[in-house]
Symmetry: C2
Subunit: 222 residues, 2 copies
Amino acid sequence: MQKTVITAEFIAESIRNEILQGKRKGGEPLRQDEIASRFSVSKIPVREALVQLKSEGLVSFVQNKGAAVSSLSADEVDEIYTIRSALETIALQRAIPHLTIADLAKAETIIQQIDSTQTVSDWGRLNWTFHAILYAPAKMPRLIETVESLHTNVSRYLVLYLAGLNYQAQSQLEHRQILDACRQGEVETAVSILQTHLEAASKKLVAFLNESENKTSGEKAK
Amino acid sequence: MQKTVITAEFIAESIRNEILQGKRKGGEPLRQDEIASRFSVSKIPVREALVQLKSEGLVSFVQNKGAAVSSLSADEVDEIYTIRSALETIALQRAIPHLTIADLAKAETIIQQIDSTQTVSDWGRLNWTFHAILYAPAKMPRLIETVESLHTNVSRYLVLYLAGLNYQAQSQLEHRQILDACRQGEVETAVSILQTHLEAASKKLVAFLNESENKTSGEKAK
DNA sequence: TTGATTAAAATCGTATACGATCTTAGAATA
DNA sequence: TATTCTAAGATCGTATACGATTTTAATCAA
C-alpha cells in the first residue's frame, strides 16, 4: 500500500470531521502537541493541517496562542447564506439543462437516505451530497468548492440546533420539490424553491444565534 | 519594534507579490530551500506560506514534488468572472445606500492615481482598491475576501496581457461611470455598468487565453 | 480574603537534521 | 547513435530539539 495522502491532508480531514460532528466546540483550543501525539506524528504536519483548516474558516490562529475552533456570529451566518444563495442559484440554473436520468435517480436515492438517517453529521453530509449532485453538471468546480466550504461552515451549527425540530420535514419537502422541478426542466421554479430553501435555513439559524448571543452578551468582551 | 507578523505571513505576502508582478510564471516550481535561504529562515514557515498560497489558488502542490505557481485556463477565468459578477453585484448594490462623501472622494482619488500609474502591478493593485472602496460599506467581509482572492488570481494575467492595449482607457471610462452612478444613488445603473465592466475584462482575457492554449496545444499532455 | 508577584509548566514557532523520493547525468548496452 | 541502467545529487516531507512566549499556580503583601 502506497502512502495514501499527505499526512497533513489526513489530519485536516480528521479534525474537520470532529468539528463538524460537534466534538470540538467553537472557541476550543486545538493543541498541536496533543493532536500530534494522537496521530503519532510531529507538530509540523499538524500545523500545516491547521493552516489548511484556517483557510476553510473552521479554525483561527492567534499569534503565540495557536489555533482554536472558530465560531460564527449571526451576521456571519447571514452573510454566508447570501453568498450561497447567489452562487448556488447560478450552479443550479446552469446544471439543470445537463442533468441526466442517472443524476436525478442518484439525487432521489440521497433524499431517501436522508429520511432514514439517524446521526446529525450524516444528515449534514447527505444534505450537501444532494445539492452537489444537482450542481455538478454546471461544470463550475471553483464555485462548487467555495459553496461546499460555506456549507461546511454553517453545517456544524445546523446539525446542532435544527436537527430535532420539524425543520427536517420541511427541508425534505423542499428537496423533493426542487428535484421535481429539475425533472421537469423548470429552471425558474427550481431556482425559486432553492432560494426559499436556503432562506428558511438562514432565518432559523440566524434567529437561534441572535438569541444565544443576547443570552451571553457581555461574555464577548472578555 | 515588535515582531510585525508571523514569518509565514510575511513570506506568503512576498511570494504573492512576486507572482502578481509576473516575476514567477505559471508552472514555475517554488523551491523551499531557495526561498528559505533567501529569507534566512528554515523551510517550515516557507511551507506554511505555500500552503496558505495554495488555499488562495496561486500555487499548487504535487506529492514529493513540492509547490509550483499555478496557471489558469480560459475556462477557469470564465468561471472566476461569473462568480465575481454575482458577488460584486451584491456588494455594490448593498453598499451604495451607505456610501459616504469621503468614500466617493477616495474612489475619485484612486481613479486619478490609476491614470498616472506606470507599472502594471500598481495598476492591478489600485484597480482592486477602487472596487474595494465601493464595496466596503456593504459590510460583507467574507464576500469581499472571496472576491479579492478571485481578483488576485486573474489580476496577474490581466496586468500581463491587457495593460498595453486600449483596455485601460475603456476600463477607466467605466470606473468613472460606475462612480457617477454611485454618486447619484442609481443602484441599477451602477450594477449594470459593473457587470459590463467585468464582462469586458472576462471576454478579452478568455479570448487571449484560448488563443495561447490553441497555440500550445499538445504541450499539455506532457 | 483579595490582589500582585514571580517561578514553573505548558505551549508555541521554527531551526536543524535526516530518511524518502525524485531528478539528473554519466556508464553500459544494444 | 540511441536506449536502458545506475548512482549521485537535489529536493521533499517530517521527526527532533530548543528558545520564546504564554499560562498556571504558588507565594507573598495588603
